[in-house]
Protein backbone atom coordinates (compact mmCIF):
# COMPACT_ATOMS: atom_id res chain seq x y z
CA UNK A 1 0.00 0.00 0.00
CA UNK A 2 1.45 3.29 -0.96
CA UNK A 3 0.73 5.70 1.84
CA UNK A 4 -0.37 8.66 -0.20
CA UNK A 5 -3.83 10.06 -0.37
CA UNK A 6 -5.97 8.13 -2.77
CA UNK A 7 -7.12 11.17 -4.65
CA UNK A 8 -3.58 11.88 -5.81
CA UNK A 9 -3.16 11.98 -9.50
CA UNK A 10 0.54 12.75 -9.55
CA UNK A 11 1.71 10.03 -7.24
CA UNK A 12 1.69 6.38 -8.21
CA UNK A 13 -1.54 4.54 -7.46
CA UNK A 14 -1.71 2.30 -4.43
CA UNK A 15 -0.81 -0.70 -6.52
CA UNK A 16 1.55 -3.46 -5.35
CA UNK A 17 4.39 -2.46 -7.66
CA UNK A 18 5.51 1.16 -7.89
CA UNK A 19 4.45 2.17 -11.34
CA UNK A 20 6.99 4.03 -13.45
CA UNK A 21 6.60 7.78 -13.31
CA UNK A 22 5.33 7.59 -16.88
CA UNK A 23 1.91 6.66 -15.53
CA UNK A 24 1.61 9.95 -13.70
CA UNK A 25 3.30 11.93 -16.45
CA UNK A 26 0.64 11.22 -18.99
CA UNK A 27 -1.96 12.96 -16.86
CA UNK A 28 0.04 16.01 -15.81
CA UNK A 29 -0.83 19.39 -17.22
CA UNK A 30 1.56 21.34 -19.42
CA UNK A 31 2.47 24.10 -17.03
CA UNK A 32 3.14 24.06 -13.31
CA UNK A 33 0.03 22.29 -12.02
CA UNK A 34 -1.61 25.13 -10.10
CA UNK A 35 -5.07 23.70 -10.51
CA UNK A 36 -3.96 20.35 -9.25
CA UNK A 37 -2.40 21.91 -6.17
CA UNK A 38 -5.52 23.98 -5.54
CA UNK A 39 -7.53 20.78 -5.68
CA UNK A 40 -5.16 19.20 -3.20
CA UNK A 41 -5.54 22.13 -0.85
CA UNK A 42 -9.29 21.63 -0.85
CA UNK A 43 -8.76 17.94 -0.15
CA UNK A 44 -6.38 18.84 2.67
CA UNK A 45 -8.95 21.12 4.29
CA UNK A 46 -11.52 18.34 4.12
CA UNK A 47 -9.12 15.89 5.78
CA UNK A 48 -8.34 18.39 8.53
CA UNK A 49 -12.00 19.08 9.10
CA UNK A 50 -12.52 15.33 9.44
CA UNK A 51 -9.62 15.09 11.87
CA UNK A 52 -11.03 17.91 13.98
CA UNK A 53 -14.43 16.23 13.98
CA UNK A 54 -12.89 12.95 15.09
CA UNK A 55 -11.04 14.83 17.84
CA UNK A 56 -14.25 16.46 19.02
CA UNK A 57 -16.09 13.15 19.04
CA UNK A 58 -13.28 11.59 21.08
CA UNK A 59 -13.69 14.31 23.69
CA UNK A 60 -17.41 13.80 23.99
CA UNK A 61 -17.00 10.02 24.03
CA UNK A 62 -15.32 10.06 27.43
CA UNK A 63 -17.72 7.99 29.54
CA UNK A 64 -19.53 9.86 32.32
CA UNK A 65 -20.34 13.47 33.06
CA UNK A 66 -17.63 15.61 31.56
CA UNK A 67 -17.60 18.34 34.18
CA UNK A 68 -17.16 15.73 36.92
CA UNK A 69 -14.38 14.07 34.92
CA UNK A 70 -12.59 17.37 34.41
CA UNK A 71 -12.75 18.22 38.10
CA UNK A 72 -11.56 14.77 39.11
CA UNK A 73 -8.70 14.78 36.60
CA UNK A 74 -7.61 18.15 37.87
CA UNK A 75 -7.73 17.10 41.51
CA UNK A 76 -6.54 13.53 40.92
CA UNK A 77 -9.62 12.23 42.76
CA UNK A 78 -12.71 10.24 41.88
CA UNK A 79 -15.57 11.71 43.90
CA UNK A 80 -19.05 13.15 43.40
CA UNK A 81 -19.12 16.90 42.86
CA UNK A 82 -21.58 19.53 44.06
CA UNK A 83 -23.74 21.29 41.46
CA UNK A 84 -21.99 24.59 42.26
CA UNK A 85 -18.59 23.15 41.41
CA UNK A 86 -19.95 21.58 38.23
CA UNK A 87 -21.63 24.78 37.13
CA UNK A 88 -18.33 26.65 37.21
CA UNK A 89 -16.64 24.04 35.03
CA UNK A 90 -19.61 23.84 32.66
CA UNK A 91 -19.37 27.60 32.30
CA UNK A 92 -15.61 27.53 31.70
CA UNK A 93 -15.67 24.80 29.05
CA UNK A 94 -19.03 25.77 27.57
CA UNK A 95 -20.45 22.36 28.42
CA UNK A 96 -23.93 23.70 29.17
CA UNK A 97 -24.39 24.46 25.46
CA UNK A 98 -25.94 21.97 23.03
CA UNK A 99 -23.42 19.59 21.45
CA UNK A 100 -23.75 21.24 18.03
CA UNK A 101 -22.86 24.63 19.48
CA UNK A 102 -19.88 23.10 21.28
CA UNK A 103 -18.78 21.52 18.01
CA UNK A 104 -18.97 24.77 16.08
CA UNK A 105 -17.14 26.55 18.90
CA UNK A 106 -14.45 23.89 18.76
CA UNK A 107 -13.99 24.26 15.00
CA UNK A 108 -13.91 28.04 15.32
CA UNK A 109 -11.23 27.68 17.99
CA UNK A 110 -9.07 25.46 15.81
CA UNK A 111 -9.25 27.87 12.89
CA UNK A 112 -8.05 30.68 15.16
CA UNK A 113 -5.31 28.52 16.69
CA UNK A 114 -7.13 27.76 19.94
CA UNK A 115 -6.90 24.03 20.67
CA UNK A 116 -8.86 24.20 23.91
CA UNK A 117 -7.86 24.15 27.57
CA UNK A 118 -6.06 21.31 29.30
CA UNK A 119 -8.19 19.51 31.89
CA UNK A 120 -5.22 18.91 34.11
CA UNK A 121 -2.93 21.89 33.73
CA UNK A 122 -5.72 24.43 33.32
CA UNK A 123 -3.74 26.15 30.55
CA UNK A 124 -4.28 26.57 26.80
CA UNK A 125 -3.31 23.42 24.93
CA UNK A 126 -1.63 25.46 22.21
CA UNK A 127 0.79 26.91 24.78
CA UNK A 128 1.61 23.47 26.21
CA UNK A 129 2.28 22.05 22.75
CA UNK A 130 4.19 25.15 21.66
CA UNK A 131 6.68 24.75 24.50
CA UNK A 132 7.47 21.13 23.69
CA UNK A 133 7.00 20.86 19.92
CA UNK A 134 10.30 22.25 18.72
CA UNK A 135 12.67 19.53 20.03
CA UNK A 136 10.38 16.89 18.52
CA UNK A 137 10.34 18.61 15.13
CA UNK A 138 14.14 18.87 15.17
CA UNK A 139 14.42 15.19 16.07
CA UNK A 140 11.97 14.16 13.37
CA UNK A 141 13.57 16.15 10.57
CA UNK A 142 17.07 14.99 11.56
CA UNK A 143 15.83 11.41 11.55
CA UNK A 144 14.29 11.71 8.10
CA UNK A 145 17.43 13.31 6.68
CA UNK A 146 19.57 10.59 8.26
CA UNK A 147 17.26 7.91 6.88
CA UNK A 148 17.68 9.31 3.37
CA UNK A 149 21.47 9.28 3.66
CA UNK A 150 21.55 5.71 4.97
CA UNK A 151 19.07 4.51 2.39
CA UNK A 152 20.73 6.12 -0.63
CA UNK A 153 24.20 4.85 0.32
CA UNK A 154 22.95 1.35 1.10
CA UNK A 155 20.83 0.95 -2.02
CA UNK A 156 23.42 2.45 -4.36
CA UNK A 157 26.04 0.10 -2.94
CA UNK A 158 23.99 -3.11 -2.96
CA UNK A 159 21.19 -2.93 -5.58
CA UNK A 160 21.73 -4.80 -8.83
CA UNK A 161 25.07 -6.32 -7.79
CA UNK A 162 24.36 -9.94 -8.56
CA UNK A 163 21.97 -12.21 -6.73
CA UNK A 164 23.92 -12.61 -3.49
CA UNK A 165 24.65 -8.99 -2.67
CA UNK A 166 21.23 -7.79 -3.80
CA UNK A 167 19.35 -10.33 -1.76
CA UNK A 168 21.44 -9.60 1.34
CA UNK A 169 20.57 -5.95 0.76
CA UNK A 170 16.87 -6.72 0.33
CA UNK A 171 16.72 -9.02 3.35
CA UNK A 172 18.35 -6.36 5.50
CA UNK A 173 15.87 -3.74 4.22
CA UNK A 174 12.96 -5.92 5.29
CA UNK A 175 14.51 -6.92 8.59
CA UNK A 176 15.33 -3.40 9.80
CA UNK A 177 12.04 -2.01 8.52
CA UNK A 178 10.31 -4.27 11.02
CA UNK A 179 12.38 -3.38 14.06
CA UNK A 180 10.32 -1.82 16.85
CA UNK A 181 11.64 1.58 17.88
CA UNK A 182 11.74 0.73 21.55
CA UNK A 183 13.96 -2.28 20.95
CA UNK A 184 16.36 -0.61 18.54
CA UNK A 185 16.54 2.39 20.85
CA UNK A 186 17.42 0.28 23.87
CA UNK A 187 20.12 -1.61 21.95
CA UNK A 188 21.69 1.63 20.70
CA UNK A 189 21.47 3.11 24.19
CA UNK A 190 23.12 0.09 25.77
CA UNK A 191 25.90 -0.16 23.19
CA UNK A 192 26.78 3.44 22.36
CA UNK A 193 25.81 5.33 25.48
CA UNK A 194 26.21 2.90 28.38
CA UNK A 195 29.01 0.60 27.16
CA UNK A 196 31.07 2.77 24.82
CA UNK A 197 30.10 6.09 26.38
CA UNK A 198 30.19 7.93 23.04
CA UNK A 199 26.86 9.66 23.64
CA UNK A 200 25.04 10.88 26.75
CA UNK A 201 22.59 8.42 28.35
CA UNK A 202 20.08 11.19 29.06
CA UNK A 203 19.92 13.25 25.91
CA UNK A 204 17.87 16.21 27.21
CA UNK A 205 17.98 18.77 24.43
CA UNK A 206 21.72 18.72 23.70
CA UNK A 207 22.86 18.43 20.07
CA UNK A 208 25.17 15.58 21.03
CA UNK A 209 22.20 13.79 22.50
CA UNK A 210 20.31 14.13 19.23
CA UNK A 211 22.26 11.50 17.29
CA UNK A 212 21.15 8.23 18.91
CA UNK A 213 17.43 9.11 19.06
CA UNK A 214 17.56 10.25 15.43
CA UNK A 215 19.39 7.08 14.40
CA UNK A 216 16.78 4.96 16.18
CA UNK A 217 14.06 6.55 14.10
CA UNK A 218 16.13 6.61 10.92
CA UNK A 219 17.13 2.94 10.65
CA UNK A 220 13.65 1.41 10.25
CA UNK A 221 12.61 4.28 8.00
CA UNK A 222 15.68 3.72 5.82
CA UNK A 223 14.65 0.07 5.54
CA UNK A 224 11.19 1.08 4.39
CA UNK A 225 12.31 3.57 1.83
CA UNK A 226 15.02 1.11 0.80
CA UNK A 227 12.43 -1.51 -0.08
CA UNK A 228 10.64 0.93 -2.36
CA UNK A 229 13.80 2.37 -3.90
CA UNK A 230 15.56 -0.95 -4.46
CA UNK A 231 12.73 -2.33 -6.59
CA UNK A 232 12.72 0.78 -8.77
CA UNK A 233 16.54 0.94 -8.84
CA UNK A 234 16.86 -2.59 -10.16
CA UNK A 235 14.16 -1.97 -12.74
CA UNK A 236 15.87 1.21 -13.90
CA UNK A 237 19.24 -0.49 -14.34
CA UNK A 238 17.79 -2.33 -17.35
CA UNK A 239 16.14 0.72 -18.91
CA UNK A 240 17.16 1.94 -22.37
CA UNK A 241 18.44 5.26 -21.03
CA UNK A 242 20.85 3.41 -18.78
CA UNK A 243 22.12 1.29 -21.66
CA UNK A 244 22.52 4.48 -23.70
CA UNK A 245 24.53 6.09 -20.91
CA UNK A 246 26.73 3.03 -20.65
CA UNK A 247 27.26 3.06 -24.42
CA UNK A 248 28.39 6.64 -24.17
CA UNK A 249 31.18 5.27 -21.99
CA UNK A 250 29.85 6.34 -18.63
CA UNK A 251 31.24 4.37 -15.70
CA UNK A 252 29.09 2.24 -13.43
CA UNK A 253 29.15 4.75 -10.57
CA UNK A 254 28.26 7.61 -12.87
CA UNK A 255 25.29 5.68 -14.21
CA UNK A 256 24.11 4.75 -10.75
CA UNK A 257 24.45 8.18 -9.21
CA UNK A 258 23.48 10.41 -12.13
CA UNK A 259 20.74 8.45 -13.86
CA UNK A 260 19.42 5.49 -11.93
CA UNK A 261 19.29 7.06 -8.48
CA UNK A 262 17.37 10.09 -9.59
CA UNK A 263 14.94 7.88 -11.41
CA UNK A 264 14.39 5.50 -8.54
CA UNK A 265 13.95 7.74 -5.50
CA UNK A 266 10.44 8.77 -6.55
CA UNK A 267 8.64 6.07 -4.54
CA UNK A 268 10.71 7.03 -1.49
CA UNK A 269 9.78 10.69 -1.97
CA UNK A 270 6.16 9.58 -1.91
CA UNK A 271 6.83 7.79 1.35
CA UNK A 272 8.38 10.86 2.97
CA UNK A 273 5.06 12.59 3.57
CA UNK A 274 3.74 9.56 5.36
CA UNK A 275 7.11 9.09 7.07
CA UNK A 276 6.79 12.46 8.76
CA UNK A 277 3.69 11.42 10.69
CA UNK A 278 5.05 7.96 11.43
CA UNK A 279 8.36 9.39 12.61
CA UNK A 280 6.73 11.91 14.91
CA UNK A 281 4.71 9.17 16.57
CA UNK A 282 7.84 7.02 16.77
CA UNK A 283 9.47 9.99 18.48
CA UNK A 284 7.02 9.53 21.37
CA UNK A 285 8.68 6.20 22.15
CA UNK A 286 12.22 7.30 21.41
CA UNK A 287 11.94 10.37 23.63
CA UNK A 288 10.83 8.12 26.45
CA UNK A 289 13.87 5.82 26.04
CA UNK A 290 16.45 8.58 25.79
CA UNK A 291 14.76 10.87 28.33
CA UNK A 292 14.60 13.58 25.70
CA UNK A 293 12.29 16.52 26.13
CA UNK A 294 9.59 16.92 23.52
CA UNK A 295 5.99 16.28 22.76
CA UNK A 296 6.26 12.59 23.68
CA UNK A 297 6.22 12.86 27.45
CA UNK A 298 3.44 15.46 27.28
CA UNK A 299 1.37 13.07 25.17
CA UNK A 300 1.99 10.00 27.34
CA UNK A 301 1.10 11.90 30.52
CA UNK A 302 -2.01 13.30 28.88
CA UNK A 303 -3.15 9.85 27.70
CA UNK A 304 -2.55 8.45 31.17
CA UNK A 305 -4.59 11.15 32.89
CA UNK A 306 -7.24 11.24 30.12
CA UNK A 307 -6.45 14.89 29.51
CA UNK A 308 -8.18 14.72 26.15
CA UNK A 309 -7.81 18.32 24.92
CA UNK A 310 -4.03 17.87 25.03
CA UNK A 311 -4.19 14.49 23.29
CA UNK A 312 -6.51 15.70 20.55
CA UNK A 313 -4.54 18.92 20.13
CA UNK A 314 -1.38 16.94 19.42
CA UNK A 315 -3.23 14.53 17.15
CA UNK A 316 -4.73 17.36 15.09
CA UNK A 317 -1.38 19.09 14.81
CA UNK A 318 0.32 15.94 13.55
CA UNK A 319 -2.50 15.25 11.09
CA UNK A 320 -2.00 18.80 9.82
CA UNK A 321 1.74 18.22 9.41
CA UNK A 322 1.00 15.02 7.51
CA UNK A 323 -1.32 16.85 5.15
CA UNK A 324 1.14 19.68 4.55
CA UNK A 325 3.99 17.22 4.01
CA UNK A 326 1.97 15.37 1.40
CA UNK A 327 1.34 18.55 -0.53
CA UNK A 328 5.08 19.32 -0.44
CA UNK A 329 5.78 15.79 -1.65
CA UNK A 330 3.51 16.33 -4.64
CA UNK A 331 5.38 19.52 -5.50
CA UNK A 332 8.73 17.77 -5.04
CA UNK A 333 7.55 15.17 -7.49
CA UNK A 334 7.20 17.69 -10.26
CA UNK A 335 10.65 19.10 -9.53
CA UNK A 336 12.38 15.72 -9.50
CA UNK A 337 10.64 14.34 -12.56
CA UNK A 338 10.82 17.05 -15.24
CA UNK A 339 8.58 15.01 -17.53
CA UNK A 340 5.65 15.95 -15.31
CA UNK A 341 6.32 19.61 -16.03
CA UNK A 342 6.53 19.61 -19.81
CA UNK A 343 5.23 16.29 -21.07
Amino acid sequence: MTPTSSSDTLTPPAAPAPSGPAGGGARASRRFPWRLIAGKLVGAVVVLWGAATAAFLAQTALPGDRATIILNIRAGQAIERTPAELAAINQEYGLQNPLLVQYLEYLRGIVTGDLGTSYQQHRPVAAIIGEQMWPTIVLTLTAIALAWVIMVVWVTLTAGRGTKVSSVGAVLDTAVAGLPHYWLGIILLLVFALTLGWFPVISGTSPNGLFLPALTLAIPLAGFMGQATRAEFERSLDQPFVITARMRGMGDWGVRLKHVLRHSVLPAVTLSGWALGATISGAVIVESIFTRSGIGSVLVTAVNTQDLPVVTGIVILIAALYVVANILVDIAYVIIDPRLKKS
Binding site: M1, T2, P3, S5, S6, P13, A14, A15, P16, A17, P18, G43, V47, L48, G50, A51, A54, A58, A61, A170, V171, T174, A175, A177, G178, L179, P180, Y182, W183, I186, I187, L190, L194, L217, P220, L221, G223, Q227, A228, R230, A231, L271, G277, A278, I280, S281, G282, V284, I285, S288, V303, N304, Q306, D307, V311, I314, V315, I318, A319, Y322
Partner: protein, 285 residues
Amino acid sequence: MTALGQPLLTKPVSAKLAATPWGFFLAIAVLLFFVVAAVFPAALATHDPYAMNFANALHPPSFEFWFGTDESGRDLYSRVIYGTRESLLIGVGATAVSLSLALVLGSLAALAGRFASAAVNRIIEVLFAFPTLLLALLLVAVIGPSAMSQVVAVGVGTAPGYARIIRGQILKAKDSGYVEAAVALGHPRAWILRNHVLPNALRPLVAIFALSVGQSIVWASSLSFLGLGVAPPSPEWGALLDAGKQYITQAGWLTVLPGLVIVVLALAATTLGKHIQNILEKDEK
Protein backbone atom coordinates in the same frame (compact mmCIF):
# COMPACT_ATOMS: atom_id res chain seq x y z
CA MET B 1 8.59 1.00 13.10
CA THR B 2 5.93 3.32 12.94
CA ALA B 3 6.95 2.51 9.81
CA LEU B 4 5.87 -0.90 10.78
CA GLY B 5 2.66 -2.18 9.42
CA GLN B 6 2.43 0.31 6.71
CA PRO B 7 3.68 -0.39 3.22
CA LEU B 8 4.90 -3.90 3.90
CA LEU B 9 2.83 -5.37 1.16
CA THR B 10 4.25 -3.40 -1.69
CA LYS B 11 7.61 -4.73 -2.70
CA PRO B 12 8.13 -7.90 -4.65
CA VAL B 13 11.90 -7.59 -4.13
CA SER B 14 11.76 -7.95 -0.38
CA ALA B 15 9.73 -11.07 -1.01
CA LYS B 16 13.09 -12.67 -1.67
CA LEU B 17 13.19 -13.08 2.07
CA ALA B 18 10.19 -15.31 1.82
CA ALA B 19 11.31 -17.01 -1.38
CA THR B 20 13.97 -19.02 0.42
CA PRO B 21 12.27 -22.19 1.66
CA TRP B 22 14.41 -22.45 4.79
CA GLY B 23 13.20 -19.05 5.87
CA PHE B 24 9.65 -20.26 5.47
CA PHE B 25 10.23 -23.42 7.50
CA LEU B 26 12.07 -21.51 10.17
CA ALA B 27 9.11 -19.13 10.42
CA ILE B 28 6.70 -22.05 10.78
CA ALA B 29 8.90 -23.59 13.48
CA VAL B 30 9.08 -20.32 15.41
CA LEU B 31 5.33 -19.81 15.22
CA LEU B 32 4.67 -23.40 16.31
CA PHE B 33 6.93 -22.87 19.30
CA PHE B 34 4.91 -19.84 20.37
CA VAL B 35 1.62 -21.63 19.84
CA VAL B 36 2.83 -24.44 22.14
CA ALA B 37 3.99 -21.82 24.65
CA ALA B 38 0.56 -20.20 24.55
CA VAL B 39 -1.36 -23.45 25.01
CA PHE B 40 0.95 -25.47 27.30
CA PRO B 41 3.30 -22.96 28.93
CA ALA B 42 4.26 -25.48 31.61
CA ALA B 43 5.79 -27.74 28.96
CA LEU B 44 8.37 -25.12 27.95
CA ALA B 45 9.02 -23.12 31.12
CA THR B 46 12.02 -24.00 33.28
CA HIS B 47 10.93 -22.24 36.48
CA ASP B 48 7.81 -21.02 38.21
CA PRO B 49 7.19 -17.64 36.52
CA TYR B 50 5.78 -16.11 39.71
CA ALA B 51 8.17 -17.52 42.32
CA MET B 52 10.20 -14.71 43.87
CA ASN B 53 13.70 -15.36 45.13
CA PHE B 54 15.46 -12.20 46.20
CA ALA B 55 18.80 -13.98 46.57
CA ASN B 56 18.84 -14.28 42.77
CA ALA B 57 17.52 -10.80 41.94
CA LEU B 58 18.79 -9.21 38.69
CA HIS B 59 20.86 -12.28 37.84
CA PRO B 60 22.25 -11.94 34.27
CA PRO B 61 21.40 -14.62 31.67
CA SER B 62 23.12 -17.89 32.57
CA PHE B 63 22.81 -21.64 32.15
CA GLU B 64 20.38 -21.72 35.08
CA PHE B 65 18.38 -18.62 34.10
CA TRP B 66 18.39 -18.46 30.28
CA PHE B 67 17.05 -14.91 30.08
CA GLY B 68 18.32 -13.83 33.53
CA THR B 69 16.08 -12.83 36.41
CA ASP B 70 14.14 -9.69 37.27
CA GLU B 71 14.29 -7.46 40.35
CA SER B 72 12.37 -10.02 42.39
CA GLY B 73 14.48 -12.94 41.23
CA ARG B 74 11.78 -14.35 38.94
CA ASP B 75 13.05 -16.30 35.91
CA LEU B 76 12.55 -14.07 32.85
CA TYR B 77 12.49 -16.92 30.31
CA SER B 78 9.64 -18.63 32.13
CA ARG B 79 7.81 -15.34 32.41
CA VAL B 80 8.14 -14.77 28.67
CA ILE B 81 6.73 -18.26 28.06
CA TYR B 82 3.81 -17.65 30.42
CA GLY B 83 3.16 -14.24 28.86
CA THR B 84 2.86 -15.70 25.36
CA ARG B 85 -0.85 -16.53 25.64
CA GLU B 86 -1.97 -13.02 26.53
CA SER B 87 0.38 -11.38 24.01
CA LEU B 88 -0.79 -13.62 21.17
CA LEU B 89 -4.44 -13.11 22.12
CA ILE B 90 -3.97 -9.34 22.05
CA GLY B 91 -2.28 -9.60 18.65
CA VAL B 92 -4.93 -11.89 17.14
CA GLY B 93 -7.75 -9.89 18.72
CA ALA B 94 -6.41 -6.61 17.38
CA THR B 95 -6.01 -8.18 13.94
CA ALA B 96 -9.60 -9.40 14.03
CA VAL B 97 -10.85 -5.92 14.95
CA SER B 98 -8.60 -4.32 12.33
CA LEU B 99 -9.52 -6.60 9.43
CA SER B 100 -13.26 -6.53 10.19
CA LEU B 101 -13.26 -2.76 10.23
CA ALA B 102 -11.05 -2.64 7.13
CA LEU B 103 -13.35 -5.07 5.33
CA VAL B 104 -16.43 -2.94 6.02
CA LEU B 105 -14.74 0.35 5.10
CA GLY B 106 -12.84 -1.07 2.11
CA SER B 107 -15.81 -2.77 0.49
CA LEU B 108 -18.11 0.19 1.10
CA ALA B 109 -15.51 2.47 -0.46
CA ALA B 110 -15.24 0.23 -3.51
CA LEU B 111 -18.81 -0.97 -3.96
CA ALA B 112 -21.31 1.51 -2.50
CA GLY B 113 -23.04 4.14 -4.63
CA ARG B 114 -21.17 7.17 -5.80
CA PHE B 115 -21.86 9.47 -2.86
CA ALA B 116 -21.61 6.84 -0.17
CA SER B 117 -18.31 5.56 -1.50
CA ALA B 118 -16.92 9.10 -1.77
CA ALA B 119 -17.87 9.68 1.86
CA VAL B 120 -16.30 6.41 3.02
CA ASN B 121 -13.19 7.18 1.01
CA ARG B 122 -12.90 10.46 2.86
CA ILE B 123 -13.30 8.73 6.21
CA ILE B 124 -10.49 6.32 5.32
CA GLU B 125 -8.40 9.28 4.21
CA VAL B 126 -8.97 11.14 7.47
CA LEU B 127 -8.12 8.07 9.55
CA PHE B 128 -5.02 7.57 7.43
CA ALA B 129 -3.81 11.06 8.32
CA PHE B 130 -3.40 9.83 11.91
CA PRO B 131 -0.26 7.72 12.33
CA THR B 132 -1.11 4.28 13.74
CA LEU B 133 0.40 4.83 17.17
CA LEU B 134 -1.30 8.21 17.53
CA LEU B 135 -4.72 6.88 16.64
CA ALA B 136 -4.15 4.09 19.15
CA LEU B 137 -3.09 6.58 21.83
CA LEU B 138 -6.20 8.67 21.19
CA LEU B 139 -8.39 5.62 21.77
CA VAL B 140 -6.49 4.59 24.90
CA ALA B 141 -7.03 8.12 26.21
CA VAL B 142 -10.78 7.70 25.76
CA ILE B 143 -11.16 4.11 26.98
CA GLY B 144 -8.39 4.02 29.58
CA PRO B 145 -5.43 1.60 29.53
CA SER B 146 -6.13 -2.16 29.69
CA ALA B 147 -5.67 -5.30 27.59
CA MET B 148 -9.08 -4.78 26.00
CA SER B 149 -8.35 -1.18 25.09
CA GLN B 150 -5.08 -2.34 23.54
CA VAL B 151 -7.01 -4.72 21.30
CA VAL B 152 -9.42 -1.98 20.22
CA ALA B 153 -6.79 0.75 19.93
CA VAL B 154 -4.32 -1.27 17.88
CA GLY B 155 -7.15 -2.74 15.81
CA VAL B 156 -8.58 0.64 14.90
CA GLY B 157 -5.11 2.17 14.52
CA THR B 158 -4.02 -0.33 11.88
CA ALA B 159 -7.38 -0.57 10.07
CA PRO B 160 -7.09 2.40 7.65
CA GLY B 161 -4.09 0.92 5.84
CA TYR B 162 -5.78 -2.42 5.37
CA ALA B 163 -9.01 -0.73 4.31
CA ARG B 164 -7.07 0.85 1.47
CA ILE B 165 -5.58 -2.47 0.41
CA ILE B 166 -8.98 -4.15 0.41
CA ARG B 167 -10.54 -1.29 -1.54
CA GLY B 168 -7.70 -1.51 -4.07
CA GLN B 169 -8.12 -5.26 -4.44
CA ILE B 170 -11.87 -5.02 -5.01
CA LEU B 171 -11.44 -2.23 -7.56
CA LYS B 172 -8.78 -4.26 -9.36
CA ALA B 173 -11.06 -7.28 -9.51
CA LYS B 174 -13.96 -5.10 -10.70
CA ASP B 175 -11.84 -3.82 -13.60
CA SER B 176 -10.57 -7.23 -14.63
CA GLY B 177 -11.19 -9.02 -17.90
CA TYR B 178 -13.12 -11.86 -16.30
CA VAL B 179 -15.63 -9.47 -14.76
CA GLU B 180 -16.00 -7.71 -18.10
CA ALA B 181 -16.63 -11.07 -19.69
CA ALA B 182 -19.18 -11.98 -17.04
CA VAL B 183 -20.98 -8.67 -17.60
CA ALA B 184 -20.96 -9.29 -21.35
CA LEU B 185 -22.48 -12.71 -20.76
CA GLY B 186 -25.34 -11.01 -18.95
CA HIS B 187 -24.78 -12.36 -15.45
CA PRO B 188 -26.53 -10.35 -12.74
CA ARG B 189 -24.45 -7.89 -10.74
CA ALA B 190 -24.87 -9.61 -7.39
CA TRP B 191 -23.87 -12.93 -8.89
CA ILE B 192 -20.71 -11.46 -10.40
CA LEU B 193 -19.89 -9.82 -7.10
CA ARG B 194 -20.28 -13.02 -5.15
CA ASN B 195 -18.62 -15.39 -7.59
CA HIS B 196 -15.89 -13.28 -9.17
CA VAL B 197 -15.12 -10.01 -7.44
CA LEU B 198 -15.11 -10.94 -3.75
CA PRO B 199 -13.32 -14.31 -3.95
CA ASN B 200 -10.51 -12.77 -5.98
CA ALA B 201 -10.31 -9.57 -4.02
CA LEU B 202 -10.29 -11.20 -0.60
CA ARG B 203 -7.79 -13.97 -1.20
CA PRO B 204 -4.83 -11.81 -0.09
CA LEU B 205 -6.51 -11.46 3.31
CA VAL B 206 -4.86 -14.71 4.42
CA ALA B 207 -1.43 -13.18 3.87
CA ILE B 208 -2.51 -9.89 5.42
CA PHE B 209 -3.76 -11.72 8.48
CA ALA B 210 -0.35 -13.28 9.15
CA LEU B 211 1.44 -9.96 8.57
CA SER B 212 -1.01 -8.11 10.73
CA VAL B 213 -0.75 -10.38 13.77
CA GLY B 214 2.99 -9.73 13.92
CA GLN B 215 2.51 -5.98 13.49
CA SER B 216 -0.28 -5.83 16.05
CA ILE B 217 1.88 -7.47 18.69
CA VAL B 218 4.59 -4.91 18.03
CA TRP B 219 2.10 -2.01 18.29
CA ALA B 220 0.49 -3.41 21.40
CA SER B 221 3.87 -3.87 23.07
CA SER B 222 4.75 -0.28 22.11
CA LEU B 223 1.70 0.89 24.04
CA SER B 224 2.66 -1.26 27.03
CA PHE B 225 6.21 0.05 26.81
CA LEU B 226 4.80 3.55 27.27
CA GLY B 227 2.94 2.30 30.33
CA LEU B 228 -0.41 2.39 28.52
CA GLY B 229 -1.23 -1.28 28.17
CA VAL B 230 -1.32 -4.34 30.38
CA ALA B 231 0.39 -3.30 33.61
CA PRO B 232 3.20 -5.17 35.35
CA PRO B 233 3.46 -7.61 37.20
CA SER B 234 1.63 -9.46 34.39
CA PRO B 235 4.12 -11.47 32.27
CA GLU B 236 2.52 -10.14 29.08
CA TRP B 237 5.45 -9.18 26.83
CA GLY B 238 4.74 -5.47 26.69
CA ALA B 239 4.30 -5.41 30.47
CA LEU B 240 7.69 -7.12 30.82
CA LEU B 241 9.21 -4.31 28.77
CA ASP B 242 7.47 -1.71 30.87
CA ALA B 243 8.71 -3.31 34.07
CA GLY B 244 12.27 -3.76 32.76
CA LYS B 245 12.49 -0.18 31.51
CA GLN B 246 13.57 1.24 34.87
CA TYR B 247 16.46 -1.23 35.10
CA ILE B 248 17.98 -0.44 31.69
CA THR B 249 21.27 0.71 33.17
CA GLN B 250 21.80 -2.24 35.55
CA ALA B 251 19.95 -5.06 33.79
CA GLY B 252 19.59 -4.47 30.05
CA TRP B 253 18.45 -8.06 29.45
CA LEU B 254 15.10 -7.30 31.09
CA THR B 255 14.12 -5.22 28.07
CA VAL B 256 16.43 -6.53 25.34
CA LEU B 257 15.37 -10.20 25.56
CA PRO B 258 11.57 -9.78 25.71
CA GLY B 259 12.01 -7.24 22.89
CA LEU B 260 14.00 -9.82 20.92
CA VAL B 261 11.21 -12.36 21.39
CA ILE B 262 8.71 -9.86 19.97
CA VAL B 263 11.02 -9.09 17.03
CA VAL B 264 11.50 -12.80 16.27
CA LEU B 265 7.77 -13.47 16.38
CA ALA B 266 6.98 -10.44 14.21
CA LEU B 267 9.65 -11.43 11.70
CA ALA B 268 8.32 -14.98 11.56
CA ALA B 269 4.76 -13.77 11.01
CA THR B 270 5.95 -11.35 8.30
CA THR B 271 7.94 -14.08 6.56
CA LEU B 272 4.96 -16.41 6.61
CA GLY B 273 2.65 -13.69 5.33
CA LYS B 274 4.98 -12.80 2.47
CA HIS B 275 5.39 -16.43 1.55
CA ILE B 276 1.62 -16.91 1.34
CA GLN B 277 1.48 -13.74 -0.72
CA ASN B 278 4.08 -15.14 -3.12
CA ILE B 279 2.13 -18.34 -3.56
CA LEU B 280 -1.05 -16.39 -4.26
CA GLU B 281 0.74 -14.17 -6.77
CA LYS B 282 2.18 -17.17 -8.58
CA ASP B 283 -1.30 -18.66 -8.77
CA GLU B 284 -2.56 -15.54 -10.44
CA LYS B 285 -0.05 -15.80 -13.27
